[in-house]
C-alpha cells in the first residue's frame, strides 16, 4: 500500500485503519452527511434512482464477494435475488409476518438455495460453474412461474410496504433511509470481510484453488461459504426490491439482468470494495439517462427512427460497454481511480 509522502504508520492500529488521515475522516463524514441529507435536495424521481442504486449495490457487493474475491463465476444472480424477493413477498403478504422477519428469511432462503447450486463448484470451475448457475437461474424462474399457488405465477404477487413496529416506510424518502442504511452496512461488512482470515482464504482460492488446498484451506467450506454470503446478500437485496416496488413478477429477474450484474462488477473492477459501487452507479445512471432522457430526446428530434430503437439501444450499448471494458480496461474503473490517486499523490513529480 503506497501512502502519501510524510504519512507514516506508527502503530498496528494505524496500519489496519480503513480511514488513515484527518482528510480521510473529513471527507468520509462529509460524504455521509451529503448522503443522509439527500432527501432534502433530491426530488422523488432521483430518490427513486438512488433507491434502485442502493438495492443493486447490495446484490452486486454479494456477487463481488462470490466472483471477485472467491473467483466463482455466477451467472444466476438475478435468480437468487428472485428467491429473496419472493420469500419476503410470500412471508409478509400471505403469512402477514413482520418485515424484518421477511428480510432475514429472504437472505437465509436465498443463501441456502445458493448453497445447493454451489455444491458443484467444489469439483468444477470456470465454464462448468457458469453453466450450472445459468441452469440455476432457469430452474428458479421456472419454479416461480409455475408454483402459482404460492408465488402467484405469471400474474405476480403484491407486496406490502416495509414496516418496523408501527412505522411504515411509505414515502420514497423513508425507504431511501432504510435502503441506504442496509447498503452502507453491507459495504462495511464486505470491506472488512476482505481483510479477515475468511477474505484472505477467498482470495487464495480465487488465485489458485489447488495451491490453496495444499496450503490447508478447506475448499469445500470456503467455496460454499462464498456462495452463502453472496446469495444471502442477493436475498436481502431481493427483499428490499420487493418491498420497494410493491409488486413482484418473475419477468424482473431475467437472464439478461444476471448478465448485467456480472457486467457491473466487471466495469467497476473485480475484487475491490470500490469496484461494485462505481460499476453499479455507472450502469444504473447510464440506464436512467438512456431510457428517460436520451432515447425520448432522440425520438423527438429524429422521427424516422425504427420502432425497436427505444428497446434495442440499451442492451446494445450495455453489451458494447462490457466488451469494451474487458478489452480496454479489464481491471475496471476502480483501477483507474487508484491510478488517478497515485498520480495525484506524486504530483507534480510523477516519477
Amino acid at each position: 500500500m503506497s501512502l502519501p509522502s510524510g504519512t507514516r504508520n506508527y502503530t498496528y492500529a494505524q496500519d489496519m485503519a480503513i480511514l488513515r488521515t484527518r482528510t480521510h475522516w473529513v471527507l468520509f463524514f462529509g460524504f455521509l452527511v451529503l448522503l443522509f441529507t439527500a432527501p432534502l435536495y433530491l426530488g422523488n424521481y432521483w430518490l427513486g434512482v438512488a433507491n434502485l442504486i442502493g438495492i443493486t449495490l447490495i446484490a452486486a457487493t454479494g456477487l463481488n464477494i462470490l466472483t471477485g474475491y472467491c473467483g466463482q463465476l455466477s451467472i444466476g444472480h438475478a435468480g437468487f435475488i428472485a428467491v429473496g424477493a419472493y420469500t419476503s413477498a410470500i412471508l409478509t403478504n400471505r403469512l402477514e409476518l413482520p418485515f424484518l422477519v421477511g428480510l432475514i428469511c429472504a437472505g437465509l432462503t436465498a443463501g441456502f438455495i445458493g448453497l445447493i447450486f454451489g455444491i458443484p463448484s467444489v469439483r468444477v470451475k470456470g465454464f462448468y460453474l457458469a453453466i450450472t448457475t445459468i441452469a440455476a437461474q432457469f430452474i428458479i424462474i421456472w419454479v416461480i412461474n409455475h408454483w402459482s399457488a404460492l408465488t402467484g405465477g405469471f400474474v405476480g404477487i403484491k407486496v406490502p410496504y416495509a414496516s418496523i413496529g408501527s412505522f411504515v416506510f411509505k414515502s420514497e424518502a423513508s425507504q431511501f433511509y432504510l435502503i441506504i442504511t442496509i447498503t452502507a452496512l453491507c459495504i462495511f461488512f464486505a470491506k472488512n470481510l476482505a481483510r479477515t482470515k475468511v477474505g484472505r482464504a477467498f482470495i487464495a482460492v480465487r488465485d489458485n484453488d489447488l495451491a490453496a488446498q495444499v496450503m490447508g484451506i478447506n475448499l469445500f467450506y470456503y467455496k460454499l461459504l462464498a456462495f452463502f454470503i453472496g446469495c444471502f446478500m442477493a436475498g436481502i437485496a431481493g427483499s428490499l426490491l420487493a418491498h420497494w416496488i410493491g409488486f413482484m413478477n418473475a419477468e424482473q429477474f431475467s437472464l439478461t439482468e444476471s448478465i448485467l450484474y456480472i457486467g457491473m462488477i466487471i466495469i467497476g473492477g473485480l475484487g475491490t470494495t470500490l469496484g461494485p459501487i462505481l460499476g453499479v452507479v455507472f450502469i444504473r445512471l447510464l440506464q436512467q439517462i438512456l431510457t428517460v432522457e436520451f432515447v425520448p430526446f432522440l425520438e423527438r428530434t429524429i422521427t424516422a427512427l425504427p420502432s425497436g430503437f427505444a428497446t434495442g439501444v440499451t442492451p446494445m450499448l450495455f453489451g458494447l460497454v462490457i466488451v469494451l471494458f474487458l478489452v480496454l480496461e479489464p481491471r475496471g474503473l476502480a483501477h483507474r481511480w487508484a491510478l488517478l490517486k497515485s498520480a495525484y499523490r506524486l504530483w507534480p513529480f510523477s516519477y
Binding site: 466472483t67 473467483g71 463465476l73 451467472i75 447450486f117 455444491i119 458443484p120 469439483r123 468444477v124 470456470g126 465454464f127 462448468y128 457458469a130 453453466i131 450450472t132 445459468i134 441452469a135 440455476a136 432457469f138 430452474i139 421456472w142 412461474n145 409455475h146 408454483w147 489458485n208 489447488l210 495451491a211 495444499v214 439478461t256 448478465i259 448485467l260 456480472i262 457486467g263 466487471i266 473485480l270 425504427p306 420502432s307 425497436g308 430503437f309 428497446t311 434495442g312 439501444v313 440499451t314 442492451p315 446494445m316 450499448l317 450495455f318 453489451g319 458494447l320 460497454v321 462490457i322 466488451v323 474487458l326 478489452v327 479489464p330
Partner: protein, 294 residues
C-alpha cells in the same frame, strides 16, 4: 404406442439440431478454450436474418441461403477479430464474460431491427404428416433429422480430409506444436468462430422453420449447453451422441411428466440434466478429465 413413436421421432430430430449447435461450441472450446455463451443469441440472430432475407427482402431460396451462410461466416469473423483476439491469454473469467457481453449486444441488435419479436419463417419442408403404422409423424421432423445427419457427414469429412480441418484438429491437440509447424493459430481461431456461427445458423433455420422465430430460440441455444455438458466439453462424438439423448429426455419427459408436474416441464428438463451431470459426472460422458498441476 403411437404417441411414444411420435415423441421418439420428434425428440431425436430436435436433439440432432441441439447437437449441431453444440458442435459449434465444441470446436471453439477445443481450438481456443473460449466458452461461447452467446450461442443462443447467435441462433436467434441468424434465424431473424433468414427471415429478413426470405420474407422481408423476398429473395428466392437459392439466393437467400448462400447469403445467410455468408452472413454467419462474417459474424463469426467479426466476433473473433474484435472481441476475442484482444483477449488471447486472459483469464477464463474475462473470456466467459466477453461472450456474455456479445450476447447482450446481439440481443440489442435483434430487438432493434425486429422489435415485434415473434414471427414465422415460411415452411421449408412439406407438411403432410407421415403415417407409420398407426403413428402420425410430422414430416418436417424427419427432414430436419436427415439434414442434420447430412451436415454431420459433411463436417466429419471436413475435419478428416480437408487441410484446414486437419489443422483445426491439430490446434485443438497442441497449440504450441501447431505454431511451430507454421500454421497460423489466430486464423484457426477465427475459422473456428466462423464455423460455430455457421452451424448455429443452420440449426437456427432448421428449428425456426418448424416452431417459428421467438425469443425461445435463445433457450434453444442454451439447451445446447446441456448437450455439451452431458457429452463432454471437448468431444465431437460426445455432442453427437448426447444431442439425441437430451432431445429424447426433453420430449419423453414433456410427454409423460406433464400430467404429474406443472405444464411446461419440457423446457426445464435440459437444465435439470445439467445440474445432475454436474453433481455426478462433471466432465460428461466422453469429456477429458483434466488433471491440474500447480
Amino acid at each position: 404406442m403411437a404417441e411414444l413413436f411420435q415423441l421418439l421421432i420428434t425428440g431425436i430430430a430436435v436433439g440432432m439440431v441441439y447437437a449441431l449447435i453444440a458442435l459449434g461450441f465444441v470446436v471453439v472450446w477445443k481450438s481456443s478454450s473460449v466458452a461461447n455463451l452467446a450461442l443462443g443469441q447467435l441462433v436467434l440472430f441468424s434465424s431473424w436474418f433468414t427471415y429478413g432475407m426470405l420474407v422481408q427482402a423476398k429473395f428466392p431460396l437459392w439466393l437467400a441461403f448462400p447469403l445467410v451462410i455468408i452472413f454467419a461466416l462474417a459474424l463469426g469473423w467479426l466476433i473473433e477479430r474484435f472481441a476475442l483476439r484482444p483477449l488471447i491469454a486472459q483469464p477464463i473469467l474475462s473470456l466467459i464474460t466477453v461472450t456474455l457481453g456479445i450476447a447482450y449486444f446481439i440481443e440489442g441488435i435483434v430487438t432493434f431491427i425486429w422489435p415485434w419479436s415473434v414471427d414465422a419463417l415460411p415452411r421449408l419442408f412439406p407438411i403432410e404428416p407421415l403415417h407409420i403404422g398407426d403413428a402420425v409423424v410430422s414430416q418436417e421432423y424427419v427432414w430436419v433429422a436427415c439434414i442434420s445427419l447430412l451436415v454431420f457427414g459433411l463436417l466429419t469429412a471436413f475435419f478428416r480430409y480437408h487441410k484446414m480441418g486437419i489443422a483445426m484438429r491439430a490446434t485443438a491437440d497442441d497449440q504450441m506444436a501447431v505454431q511451430a509447424c507454421g500454421i497460423p493459430v489466430t486464423r484457426i481461431f477465427s475459422m473456428s468462430w466462423m464455423f460455430a456461427c455457421l452451424v448455429a445458423a443452420i440449426g437456427g433455420v432448421l428449428i425456426s422453420s418448424i416452431g417459428g422465430i421467438t425469443h425461445g430460440l435463445v433457450e434453444t441455444g442454451l439447451k445446447a449447453f446441456s448437450v455439451v455438458i452431458l457429452g463432454g466439453l471437448n468431444s465431437f462424438a460426445g455432442a453427437i451422441i448426447a444431442g439425441p439423448i437430451i432431445g429424447l429426455a426433453e420430449n419423453l419427459g414433456g410427454g409423460y411428466l406433464t400430467p404429474f408436474l406443472w405444464a411446461g416441464v419440457k423446457d426445464i428438463i435440459p437444465f435439470v440434466i445439467i445440474i445432475i451431470v454436474m453433481l455426478i459426472k462433471p466432465y460428461g460422458l466422453f469429456g477429458e478429465v483434466r488433471i491440474e498441476r500447480i
